[in-house]
Structures are given as C-alpha cells and as structure tokens.
C-alpha cells in the first residue's frame, strides 16, 4: 500500500477480513473480500451486504438561510424538503454540466450532505466560495459512513434498533446503534432496500462488527458496489456523468422539481440554468441510455458505439457483465435519435462489432421500501 493513501476507520477490519485493497479517490479501499465480487453481488441481492463508504464526504450546512443558499448551486427543491426527508441533487456549472451528485437530508436544524469522495474537496471549496457568506459549512471528517444494503438489511439492522424499520425510502433520522447516536437514512446505491448509517468514527468498527454478526450480513467491497449500482441504472460520477454532461442529457430531469423549472415559484437561479432550460424545452442532442449485449461479452467504459452502417453514435461510460441479469449491461451516451428502446446498435470491442440493444433502466428492478 502506498504510504500516502488515506484510511477509513474500518481499514484494519478490512485487512482482518482478508479484503483485496486498492487505491480509490485517495483512500486504500476494499475491492472485494475472499468470496469475490460475483458472490458479494449476489449476496446483496438476496440477503444483506455491509459496505464501507467512509471515503465519501459528509458535511452539514447550518443557518436559517442554508436551504435558500444551497438552491443557488443545485437545480433541486431544497427549501420545501420536509424535515426527515432525503433528496438526490446535482451541483451544476455555468454550462449546465454536473460538478458532482449528492444526497441532501433535511434535519431539524441543518442540512446533511453526502458527496463523492473524489469531489469532496472541490465541493467544499465550491460551497465556501458561493454560499460561505450565507451559511456555516461544517465538514464531518470524524464520521464514518456504512451502507447496509439488501432485502434483509431491515431485519438485520432492526436487531440493533427496532425503530429503524419505521423509516421509508429516502427518509432518515437519529437512531441509537451500539450505544451511540447515528444518522440513519433508508437509501443506498444498489437498487435494493437498505440503509446508510453515518456513525462517529470512534464507534464505526463496533457497529460494523455488530452488523457482521447478524446471520444475513456479509461484507462487500467497491467492486460489487459498482456492479450493483450499474444493474440498478444509477450513475457513477466521473464516468456516467461529469462536468460536460447535463442533467437533461444524463436523463436526470426527475431530480429537477417543478418549482425550479420555468414557470415554477423558484425557477432557475442555479449555475447553467439557461442551458438546462433550453435542453428541457427542445430536447438534448445526446442521451444516456442503457444497453444490453446480445453476446455474452462484456462491453466496457470507452467502447465506441456504431449503427448498422458504421456511423458513430456515441460511447460507453460504464459496462460489465451484470451478475444478476447474467448478460452484458452498459450505460452509454448516444445521439438522441438512436436513444430509443430496443434499437439495435453495435459496440466496438477489440475490433469486433458486438450487437447490443438499447434497454430501459434499471436492468434489475428497484426494490425500495416506499
């Protein structure tokens, strides 16, 4: 391991569990444990899996003006978000591109944000630059973040605190787990029911061990997290979305509530609003789509996509063999006139043209507890 990599509070536990480690966003993180990615992926779909996502950025925005201030950076309704509710959001830039995607939870006296590990420093600077004068920005480096995901996650976590079963998808609150107050939200990045738990770093290992003692729970690494989120049709920042793709091109317009769209009470007022509103009105020229392979050969990030006549249509941004669906699945940006369900396209893989079909996402149905 490179000496300058950061460690999460669960680093020693990962090593004890025999994890294969790799550098990710400056952290030494588990890719998988001895069972391997496929087994971890399937375990999460059938039972419950524990992921360490403590590398992600957690922060609070405090002050009466915090929600209004944050709305100047995201095309999302934050002001009307009720206490205890969570919402997906995007930081946009002046051309409508995406600087990061994040989760916002409204607490009684602050907003709780979770941002991507690779973006957390830039995001924090961005917040300070633009809204630092309107609210207090409080990074939470002393908190770990655990994700417990899978259809039996609620059974396992309920044994530590029965009250968590009362949460529904995209809600959260304070719950005592292993004798410490944790912020638990019913959300995740796998398409399954599950929870994300913000826990003081001092208690992270005790909580992880308590969860791993539950018969339903096994550890899973970032490898399975990636295949699970891809099957669930969820974007990975830096791959499926980035500063050159807009929320409209990425098919994330559902994240822009009516109140922030033209005609809404708080329309616009965020970076890139003009570009995004133009695309909302006239449609984007490229669109993110799902693709499934008709041959059992994985089609990966970077593969070029062509039509039957050999004209280039776009490129793949994420792809693998989906362990649950057991066929190649990918996300790609295609010219909008080809982004039509069941349309056949061809991926260039090592000089061969592999037939693929534009497919609705998610590739595996979401099973959230609504």
């Amino acid at each position: 391991m490179s000496a300058d990599l950061l460690k999460t509070p669960l680093h020693a536990l990962h090593l004890e569990l025999g994890a294969k480690m790799m550098a990710f966003a400056g952290y030494d993180m588990p890719v998988n444990y001895p069972g391997g990615i496929l087994a971890e992926h399937r375990h999460c779909r059938d039972f419950a899996s524990l992921f360490d996502v403590s590398h992600m950025g957690q922060l609070q925005l405090r002050g009466d003006d915090a929600a209004h201030a944050l709305e100047t950076l995201v095309p999302v309704d934050v002001v009307d978000l009720p206490v205890g509710k969570q919402r997906y959001a995007l930081f946009t830039n002046a051309s409508g591109g995406i600087l990061d995607d994040l989760m916002i939870t409204r607490r009684a006296d602050h907003l709780f944000l979770v941002v991507n590990a690779a973006c957390k420093e830039a995001d924090t600077r961005h917040l300070h630059t633009h809204i630092g004068h309107r609210c207090h920005i409080v990074p939470l480096p002393d908190r770990a973040l655990l994700a417990l995901q899978g259809p039996q996650a609620v059974t396992a976590l309920s044994r530590l605190n029965a009250d968590v079963a009362g949460l529904t998808f995209m809600t959260g609150g304070d719950f005592k787990l292993v004798d410490v107050d944790c912020l638990v939200t019913r959300s995740g990045y796998t398409g399954e029911d599950g929870f994300e738990i913000s826990v003081p770093a001092s208690h992270a290992e005790a909580l992880a061990r308590a969860l791993l003692r539950q018969p339903e729970v096994k550890p899973a690494g970032l490898g399975a997290r990636d295949t699970l989120r891809l099957e669930a049709g969820l974007c990975l920042y830096g791959h499926d979305i980035n500063e050159t793709t807009t929320p409209v091109e990425a098919g994330l317009t559902w994240a822009i509530q009516k109140v922030r769209r033209p005609g809404g009470a708080r329309a616009g007022g965020y970076p890139g609003a003009a570009a995004i509103e133009r695309q909302l009105a006239s449609g984007p020229t490229i669109k993110r789509v799902g693709l499934t392979g008709l041959e059992r050969i994985p089609v990966r990030e970077g593969a070029q996509i062509f039509d039957a006549q050999g004209r280039k249509l776009g490129h793949v941004t994420s792809g693998t063999l989906g362990p649950t669906v057991f066929e190649p699945v990918a996300m790609a940006y295609l010219a909008a006139n080809h982004a039509i369900a069941h349309h056949e396209v061809y991926a260039d893989v090592r000089g061969k043209r592999l037939p693929m079909r534009v497919a609705p996402m998610p590739f595996t149905p979401h099973r959230y507890h609504r």
């Binding site: 998988n32 391997g36 990615i37 490898g223 090592r350």
Partner: protein, 124 residues
C-alpha cells in the same frame, strides 16, 4: 522442468511439445477476480511469441493473453469457453486456455522456472 512461467503470469507445460498447454497462474486469476469471459485464439493459426492470443475478462477488468512462445495453436479449451470460472477454480488444470505446437525450444527455456516465478511473486 516441464512447466515454465512468463512475467505476464501465464504458465506453459511442455510435456507434449506438439501440444504444450498454456494457462494463467493462480496469481493471475486471483488478481483478476471472477472470470466471466474468455476469448481464445484461432486453432490452426501461428502466433509469434508475445503476440496477443486471447483475452480474459473478469467482472472488473479485461486482460490480454500473450503467446508465451511462438507456434501454431492446435487446440483450445472449449470447456473454458463455456464455463469461464474454471480459470478461477482450476487455473493450472481444467482451466487451461489453449495448446500450442512449440517449434523453438530455446524460447521455452528462456521462460521462468518455478523458483524464478515464485521469486517474482514475492516482489509484487
């Protein structure tokens, strides 16, 4: 010595030099993780040493398979094509990739013997 190793973590067993068996090592399969697809070379085609002769793909990555020695491919492992996880469960046995007719014994002899390959693994 009948089995030698390459720096690319492949092995070749030359008990039958008209059909020397080639596969990936235990270390290679462990580094790749769950193998989900293999692309095998063309039977009857001759490849130069070091030429790309196939691909092995896991859930997380794709890796090229190189010809450890020059020669004509005489057989490929159809069982591996049908069940790529053999490369994980039995990489030195039933998970072999292809067989090659070795014509340049000197190329074989220049590869790493087991102690040399073990020494390489210790540096990783």
């Amino acid at each position: 010595m009948t089995t030698m190793f390459t720096p690319d973590h492949e092995w070749i067993n030359i008990e039958d030099h008209e059909a020397a068996v080639v596969g990936i090592t235990l270390h290679a399969q462990d580094a790749l993780g769950d193998v989900v697809f293999v692309d095998l070379p063309e039977v009857g085609r001759s490849y130069a040493k070091g030429e790309i002769a196939g691909v092995v793909e896991s859930v997380k990555a794709a890796a090229d398979i190189y010809m450890p020695v020059s020669g004509e491919v005489v057989e490929v492992n159809e069982a591996l094509r049908a069940n790529p996880s053999l490369a994980n469960s039995d990489p030195m046995g039933n998970g072999w990739f292809f067989k090659v007719h070795v014509t340049k014994m000197a190329e074989f002899e220049q590869l790493m013997d087991p102690p040399a390959y073990d020494a390489l693994l210790k540096t990783l």
